[in-house]
Assembly symmetry: none
Homo-oligomer: 406 residues x 2
């Protein structure tokens, strides 16, 4: 059975994408479009030039059923997507009184000043998409049997539009069999290991589409297809194959999974960080409502801070150094005591790029995990840049914590 | 004077790029092409389809002087770039005896087996580029005054080709002036304000290219052109126009700028965070070598933690609440004391999505800034989702700190 998927194209505007900035969007749009029954057939990044954007749109509309343009709807001189779409479709731009009113309200002004009036322009025939997290409206345009969607550039602005109304706009227009998609979230294994574990399960349902997205110590495994029952069976098989690495489905983060378990048992957490410098507590507090289970954290970068805030003994630091199992254990136990919580995690290591020695190379990280029982320690060596080592370390200890919470 | 940079386009082949894999290449190619005097005018990612790749090449050759295609030169069925280039140019594929010999040698074989013979095919008129780190040859093709370059997909294979011979191939063919770029980093103003400030300076050198990149409370302003002296003058003008909002150039982050000032004066910093949950200390410790000036931070999410770690008075919390100027001031002063540092910043607010009241709405944040003089407090209301409010708040207090450090 061949899946009857529609053809979509993505256009990302912004000279920065051609001048050194990584384009993080294609995977995100892929994840949004697959459940709607669309595959991304091409992605184009182009600069902030009216002619270029218009040319990208013209080409994409010739080839694809659904064309999404992301970026270039802001209030400044280099925001030209509206004008480009109007040119590509041979339509005029019309000022929307309704949009102007909402914009004035958002800016807290009585009347829209001239420099912001462009933001109230719509391509003739467009339906405006409200933006709950910014000022630029999105626009949906139909051209024959094709759909053109203009979206604001920031992820925080365009992503919520899908769930709120764009999903149904697209579904209603194309009346396409939606693809069902399940995202399994795994921790503690790399891409090759995940693939090896999951391959037998994948072979049992070769008509489905599988995607592996690898992060630092995390794997998202996406199963997509047109038949919900088949997806459900495949997801169950893959979950079993993944075993203890599976921690949740959909958009649940590792920290949110931990929070759910902690909150269910009325238990609490704190962190004590050195080399991750606050990343563990940042990940915990990314979760809305985390104040119910996360009491706080100590970022003890200096030795004095480790002693003063967490009660790490000066003798331990002198004898074993700050990057040691002994120090990690005292950090975790100290955090558990000072915050008065059930669990505490600690991280101390050498994130690099400097500070490594033959004994303690860059990438070496010690972890502590204090709970109702005894305090455990872990030692790992990670390879990669400073950011990668820090992210990998934070995810590692969160995953170990997840596994011991009952 | 119009900039005499050449127009290049990049085509990345591989269905994985449209199914969840991040494309890391555009920034790398930008970095390779800029010194050769080329700007990347467009990037296209397309799947492993002969027709699609040929269509991408045809379009790119119509628009650009230099077209690079990356990927699809391997030995398997979905490697179709050679065939696509031949179709786009209307040329035949010819088997190269020379390439076949080298390939056989690389594979350690007497004679090339049939399944590998495709790899010895060159588009008619192509010059083969030797691959020191893999088996697939690159190809350079001229079509009138344009240059088409086919490169193997793995970075480890195509990147060394530039330094070894591709740089000189391109230079010799185009005889072009290289391009210079300066990035100014600004904090504490939004995109419209930045544009209004910088517009007069931009008008004085309209021949240069300007790009504004907006982050949460941060602006990157990029000036590019072919004449280093003109860029330098424009950068100086724009710096003056930006005034106190300018904090650095190039890839210097706000936290790194602060770190530089602190380290120069032998001074130190700590943080006390509630709603940002560790983001301030994460940003500080993102900076390599931050242990020289960042002593640590307390993430005091619960009231008990605020009292125990930072010495916030129970009476203050009772009378004014945790989200108040009084609490922010005591948090900052407490952090300064417990860490024994010169400066301490504090953040306490309501990041949302829940927890707001009419008096204290979601987005309300109080800040404290303790230094050698008196402790200051700031009150701001930010609009946007939880992540935005947190990022905006962290950048706000870092910027206020930057401004007071002598």
């Amino acid at each position: 059975m061949i899946m009857k998927t529609g053809k979509a194209e993505l256009i990302c505007t912004g000279s920065e994408l051609l001048e050194g900035k990584l384009n993080l969007y294609p995977p995100l749009f892929h994840a949004r479009l697959a459940p709607l029954g669309f595959t991304l057939a091409r992605e184009q990044s182009c600069g902030d030039s009216l002619a270029d954007i218009a040319d990208c749109i013209t080409g994409a509309l010739r080839r694809a059923d659904l064309v999404l343009v992301c970026g270039g709807l802001g209030p400044t001189f280099d925001d030209l997507t509206r004008q480009a779409a109007a040119r590509a479709l041979g339509r005029r731009l019309v000022s929307s009184r309704h949009c102007a009113q909402i914009l004035a309200l958002n800016y807290g002004l009585e009347k829209l000043p001239p420099n912001l009036k462009d933001q109230a322009l719509l391509v003739e025939g467009a339906k405006a998409l409200e933006n709950a997290n910014g000022t630029a409206f999105g626009e949906v345009l139909t051209e024959g049997r094709k759909l053109l969607v203009l979206l604001p550039g920031p992820r925080s602005e365009w992503e919520p539009m899908f769930g709120s109304f764009l999903d149904s706009e697209i579904k209603d227009f194309f009346k396409r069999q939606p693809l069902t998609q399940v995202k399994l979230r795994l921790a503690g294994l790399g891409e090759p290991k995940a693939e090896a574990l999951l391959k037998p399960a994948m072979r049992k349902a070769p008509e489905l589409r599988y995607t592996i997205l690898a992060g630092p110590g995390l794997i998202d495994f996406i199963i997509a297809g047109s038949e919900p029952a088949a997806i459900k069976r495949a997801a169950a098989r893959c979950r079993r194959a993944a075993g203890a690495a599976f921690y949740g489905e959909g958009d649940l983060t590792l920290a949110a999974a931990i929070g759910g378990k902690l909150a269910a048992g009325g238990r609490t957490l704190a962190s004590a960080e050195s080399c991750t410098g606050g990343l563990v507590s940042k990940l915990a507090t990314d979760v809305p409502g985390s104040s119910n289970w996360f009491l706080g954290g100590a970022v003890a970068y200096s030795n004095a801070a480790k002693t003063r805030l967490l009660g790490v003994k000066a003798a331990t630091l002198k004898k074993h150094g700050a990057v040691s199992g002994e120090c990690a254990a005292e950090m975790a136990a100290g955090a558990r005591k000072v915050f008065g919580c059930d669990y505490a995690v600690s991280v101390t290591g050498i994130a690099g790029p400097d500070g490594g020695t033959p004994d303690k190379p860059v990438g070496l990280v010690w972890f502590g995990l204090a709970g109702p029982g005894k305090t455990r320690v872990f030692r790992r060596e990670f390879r990669g840049g400073r950011d990668y080592v820090r992210a990998r370390a934070a995810n590692f200890i969160l995953d170990e914590l997840r596994k011991i919470i009952k």
